[in-house]
């Protein structure tokens, strides 16, 4: 299979931008990626927009003003994993030989507060009050605590670490460290998850430009190879993201993160312990606990110990969410995976400043969300 590389990456800070439209956010990220790849809009042959909350034809509305070159522009949605499935489509397009230079842009501008539940839940679930997104994460956390003895302190340590990392990330919505005590004393949203342990929906954009790896030298001296990009959806009863109504008590299928990671490791020809840095879905702090285990960095039930030992800090063996994670950056859904990919590209190029993982050669990005959509991408320098 033809190898594909990232030749340019761009981002618009994640946060709240009252005076900017989603067109502004997307165009800025797209221009930054094109500048990084030393090419112009007329060189792009196909573009995908990853989004969930933006209206129809957003991709064309954002990108056509850069020049009506007549290329196909396609909007893609798979909840929190939208960026992963958009990226995989772009890779397939290049591998098929149909295109050489493809842009994948993620943009979101989400309403404040809780997300509109009718996007995800049936009417009866909303009327009965089963449509608070964090409740699903919270129930997973409670069960993990019951089965493995994971504690409130373990969960708080994830939030502590990610907020601490965010201080050095200029693209993060929040760049503020909090003490463990502040985190545990912040209001409970859905027990056992506290306010400072949850990500906020917000606004932002990120973009990458891809081409066949053997043509990358034409554009950049620092191409980043895409060693794997695997989108997936959960097997039967293997996950309980929203909008669940029931689960089997008999089925015992591996979760979507385990499935996507296993396939990605096979494609990349490496195991999790050969990866130097990770950006993973921390919609809430517990989510990172579980994903640490499902990515194979330790056995089930042992992520708490890894946190106690500092293994997932930037100076540790398996640094996770060097960017500050979604807890600090916020989650502009369509842009979140491409934001992770942007961070990993900076890490592999040695350009991550004070959040740099020394000599990072391989990095992984992971997203997981509503409808049990998941994606794992592995990058190599």
């Amino acid at each position: 299979m033809k190898e594909v590389a990232i030749i340019g990456a761009g981002i618009h800070k994640f946060g709240r931008f009252e005076n900017k439209s989603y067109l502004d956010l997307g165009q800025e990220a797209a221009q930054m990626a094109m500048k990084d790849a030393n090419l112009e809009w007329k060189d792009i042959q196909m573009a995908y927009l990853s989004k969930m909350y933006l209206p129809a034809t957003s991709g064309a509305r954002i990108l056509k003003p850069l020049g009506a070159t007549g290329i196909p522009i396609c909007d893609i949605e798979a909840a929190c994993a939208s960026g992963g499935i958009a990226l995989s489509q772009a890779i397939l397009g290049i591998q098929s030989g149909a295109f050489d230079v493809v842009m994948v842009l993620g943009v979101e501008k989400m309403p404040r507060g809780f997300m509109d539940p009718s996007m995800i839940y049936e009417k009866w679930q909303i009327q009965m009050g089963m449509d608070t997104n964090p409740s699903y994460w919270a129930m997973r956390a409670r069960r993990h605590m019951y089965e493995y003895g994971t504690t409130d302190l373990h969960i708080a340590k994830v939030a502590y670490k990610n907020h601490k990392n965010s201080v050095h990330n200029p693209y993060s919505m929040y760049q503020k460290a909090f003490t463990i005590e502040e985190i545990l004393k912040s209001p409970l949203v859905c027990d056992p998850i506290h306010l400072l342990e949850i990500c906020a929906p917000n606004e932002g954009a990120a973009a990458v430009i891809l081409c066949p790896k053997d043509k990358a030298a034409k554009y950049t001296t620092q191409p980043i190879a895409i060693a794997a990009c695997v989108p997936t959806n959960a097997y039967y009863s293997a996950d309980f993201r929203a909008p669940l109504d029931s689960l089997s008590a008999k089925a015992n299928n591996p979760g979507p993160t385990e499935v996507a990671a296993k396939k990605a490791y096979e494609q990349a020809g490496i195991g999790p312990r050969e990866i130097n840095c990770f950006e993973v879905q921390d919609t809430d702090a517990f989510c990172e606990v579980e994903i640490t285990e499902q990515l194979g960095l330790c056995k089930f039930g042992e992520a708490g110990r890894l946190l106690d030992e500092g293994v997932t800090e930037i100076g540790g063996k398996y640094p996770i969410n060097m960017s500050g994670g979604l807890i600090s950056k916020g989650e502009p859904i369509g842009a979140s995976h491409l934001g992770q990919v942007f961070e990993v590209v900076q890490q592999l190029r040695g350009k991550a400043g004070k959040r740099q993982v020394p000599n990072a050669k391989v990095g992984l990005a992971h997203v997981l969300g509503a409808g049990n959509n998941c994606a794992v991408t592995i990058l190599k320098r």
């Binding site: 507060g113 809780f114 997300m115 509109d116 539940p117 009718s118 839940y121 049936e122 009417k123 009866w124 909303i126 009327q127 009965m128 009050g129 089963m130 449509d131 608070t132 964090p134 409740s135 919270a138 129930m139 997973r140 409670r142 069960r143 019951y146 209001p187 409970l188 949203v189 859905c190 027990d191 056992p192 998850i193 039967y236 009863s237 309980f240 669940l244 109504d245 029931s246 689960l247 089997s248 008590a249 008999k250 089925a251």
Partner: protein
């Protein structure tokens, strides 16, 4: 002249009929004739194996709490629970048929525990614009 409304389920295919008396009503499961897995409510195909030979059956009213959370803020959208809002438990209740059902837990949030014994309660949640009593479900301690 106003007509007295009737009782209707919050979602078709979720509760056994008739809806009165509510103590006799149970949740409906769809059991797959091929793999034996049970899904909640009426289904067109088994989401485990894809078979279309499904048999509807009443589910047990008693179960054990598998996991839970406490909803501390009013849920978004058209929530029909108490106004002003009262925090409530939400959990997955494991029934003997091998299914865990998501449901509100009608108990003091501070006393909810994984493993506690619970019983189904079918009750009128609200009256719709045609004055029908809309019947919903929750679990409460035995």
């Amino acid at each position: 002249m106003s007509m007295e409304g009737k009782q209707i389920p919050i979602r078709e295919g979720l509760l056994t009929t008739p809806l009165a008396p509510p103590e006799k009503v149970t949740l409906v499961g769809s059991k797959c004739g091929k793999c034996g897995e049970i899904s909640l409510g009426k289904r067109v195909q088994c989401s485990n194996c894809g078979a279309s030979r499904l048999e509807e059956m009443p589910l047990s009213k008693k179960g054990k709490l598998w996991t839970y959370t406490v909803i501390r803020h009013k849920p978004p959208g058209d929530y029909k629970g108490p106004d002003p809002f009262v925090p409530f438990g939400l959990g997955l209740v494991e029934l003997p048929e091998g299914i865990r059902v998501m449901a509100p837990i009608q108990a003091d949030p501070e006393k909810i525990k994984v493993g506690m014994e619970l019983e189904l309660e079918v009750y009128p949640l609200y009256r719709d614009e045609n004055k029908n009593e809309v019947m919903a479900f929750r679990f409460r301690p035995v």
